[in-house]
C-alpha cells in the first residue's frame, strides 16, 4: 500500500495531540508534543524516499548512484534541532511552574497571577 507511510505519520501526530489534550502532567504533555512533532520526521522521510536508493552520501559510492532525496533529510535535521530546543525550553518552564505553583497538573493551573 502506497499511502501507508504517510498515514503512519498522520497517526503519530494524532496520538501525540491526543496525549496533550488529555494530559494530567506537564512533563507528560511536553513528551506528547515531542511525539506529535516526530510525525513530521516520518512524513518528510516518507516523501523523500526513493526505491532501491542509498543514503545521499558519496564518500563510498560512486557519484551517480541513485540516492534518496537529501533536501527533506536536511529539513528533518533542522526539525530535530528545533524540536530539541523547544523541548528544553518547555521543560525549563515546567520546572518553574512546579516551583511557583507546586503542581504539574494543568487542570490545577487555573488562576492568573500578576
Amino acid at each position: 500500500m502506497n499511502l501507508l507511510p504517510f498515514l503512519a505519520a498522520g497517526w503519530i501526530f494524532l496520538v501525540g495531540v491526543y496525549g496533550m489534550v488529555t494530559s494530567r502532567n506537564l512533563v507528560h504533555a511536553v513528551g506528547c508534543l515531542a511525539v506529535a512533532q516526530s510525525s513530521t520526521y516520518v512524513l518528510l522521510l516518507g516523501v523523500g524516499f526513493r526505491r532501491a536508493a542509498t543514503a545521499p552520501v558519496f564518500s563510498d559510492v560512486p557519484v551517480g548512484t541513485p540516492v534518496v532525496d537529501p533536501v527533506v533529510q536536511a529539513l528533518v535535521l533542522t526539525d530535530v534541532v528545533v524540536g530539541a530546543t523547544v523541548t528544553a525550553l518547555l521543560l525549563s518552564l515546567v520546572i518553574q511552574v512546579r516551583k511557583r505553583y507546586g503542581t504539574l497538573d494543568p487542570e490545577e493551573l487555573t488562576g492568573l497571577r500578576g
Binding site: 504517510f6 498522520g10 552520501v57 558519496f58 564518500s59 533536501v71 525549563s92 516551583k99
Partner: protein, 264 residues
C-alpha cells in the same frame, strides 16, 4: 472546559484532520518514486561544489542562511533556559554528596569518555564527507562529557566541564558562523556564498565553506548542549528550593508568601 468537552472537541478536530490528511496524502508524489526534482538538483549542486555528504552541502552551503537561523534558535533556547533556570533569590545552593560508584562502572566510564569524545570530534570533522556533521557530532561531544557524571559523580563532571568558558565558546562559535558568511561579501559575492577553494572531492579539505561552518556549528552545539544540560543538572542536584514542602497540594497559597499559615 471539562475534560469531556475537551475530548469531544479533540475527537471532532481529529476527524476533520484525518479526512483532510488522507485526502492530501493521495495527492502526494507516490511513495518511493524515482522522480525527486529538488533532490536531484541538490545532489548535482553538491557534487559541483565537491561536497560528498549532500545533506551537509544543503545545510551549510545551499541553505546556509536557513541554518544560520536554526543555529540562532538553538543559541536563543540555551540563553532562555539559562535565564529560566537560574538560581532564584529564595533558593540555596547545596554541595552534592558523592554517591558510591562501582569500580567497574568507574573503569568503563573512564575508558569510554575519551573514546566518545574522539567519536564526536570525528563526526564533526568529517561532516562534509560522511554521515553526521556539526549538529550530530556536537550532541555526541556534549553527552559524551556527561559520562563523567554517570560513571563518577557530579563533582567530577564539574571539574571536566568549565561552564563559564563553554558559555563564552558557545557565543563565539555562534558569532563565527555569522562572521564566516562575510567571506562571501569580501569576495564580492552574496552573504554565506561558498567562495572558498573547493578542494578535491571526498578529501578532508573539500567543500569550501562547508567544513568551516560545520566546525563552527559543532563547537556551538557541543558547548550549548553542555550549558543547557548543566542548568537542568543544577536544578536536580545542587539547587535547594526552600518552599518545596510548604506548598499545599492544590497550589492555592501564593508561593512568594514567606510565612506559612499556622496550624490551628
Amino acid at each position: 472546559m471539562t475534560r469531556r468537552v475537551r475530548t469531544a472537541f479533540f475527537l471532532a478536530a481529529a476527524a476533520v484532520f484525518a479526512v483532510a490528511f488522507v485526502w492530501a496524502s493521495t495527492g502526494l508524489p507516490a511513495f518511493g518514486t524515482a522522480h525527486h526534482p529538488y533532490g536531484s538538483r541538490a545532489v548535482d549542486a553538491s557534487v559541483r561544489r565537491h561536497t560528498a555528504n549532500v545533506v551537509s552541502s544543503i545545510n551549510f552551503d545551499q541553505r546556509a542562511l536557513d541554518t544560520l537561523g536554526e543555529e540562532s534558535i538553538l543559541f536563543g533556547a540555551v540563553l532562555g533556559a539559562v535565564v529560566l533556570l537560574r538560581q532564584a533569590r529564595d533558593e540555596d545552593r547545596e554541595d552534592p554528596v558523592p554517591g558510591r560508584v562501582l569500580p567497574t562502572t568507574l573503569l568503563l566510564g573512564a575508558g569510554l569518555l575519551p573514546v566518545t569524545l574522539l567519536v564526536g570530534v570525528y563526526v564533526v570533522g568529517h561532516g562534509q564527507l560522511s554521515p553526521g556533521g556539526g549538529f550530530q557530532g556536537g550532541v555526541v561531544l556534549a553527552t559524551g562529557l556527561h559520562l563523567a557524571y554517570l560513571a563518577a559523580d557530579y563533582r567530577v563532571l564539574r571539574r571536566v566541564r568549565p561552564l563559564a568558558a563553554l558559555g563564552a565558546v558557545d557565543a563565539a562559535a555562534a558569532g563565527a558562523f555569522t562572521a564566516l558568511g562575510l567571506a562571501g561579501l569580501v569576495a564580492g559575492a552574496a552573504y554565506l556564498q561558498n567562495v572558498l577553494p573547493l578542494g578535491t572531492f571526498n578529501q578532508l579539505a573539500s567543500g569550501g565553506l562547508v567544513p568551516l561552518v560545520n566546525a563552527a556549528v559543532g563547537v556551538e552545539v557541543a558547548s550549548g548542549v553542555v550549558v543547557l544540560l548543566a542548568q537542568f543538572l543544577d536544578q536536580a542536584v545542587e539547587i535547594e528550593s526552600p518552599q518545596e514542602d510548604r506548598l499545599p497540594p492544590d497550589g492555592s497559597q501564593a508561593p512568594d508568601d514567606r510565612h506559612p499559615p499556622e496550624a490551628p
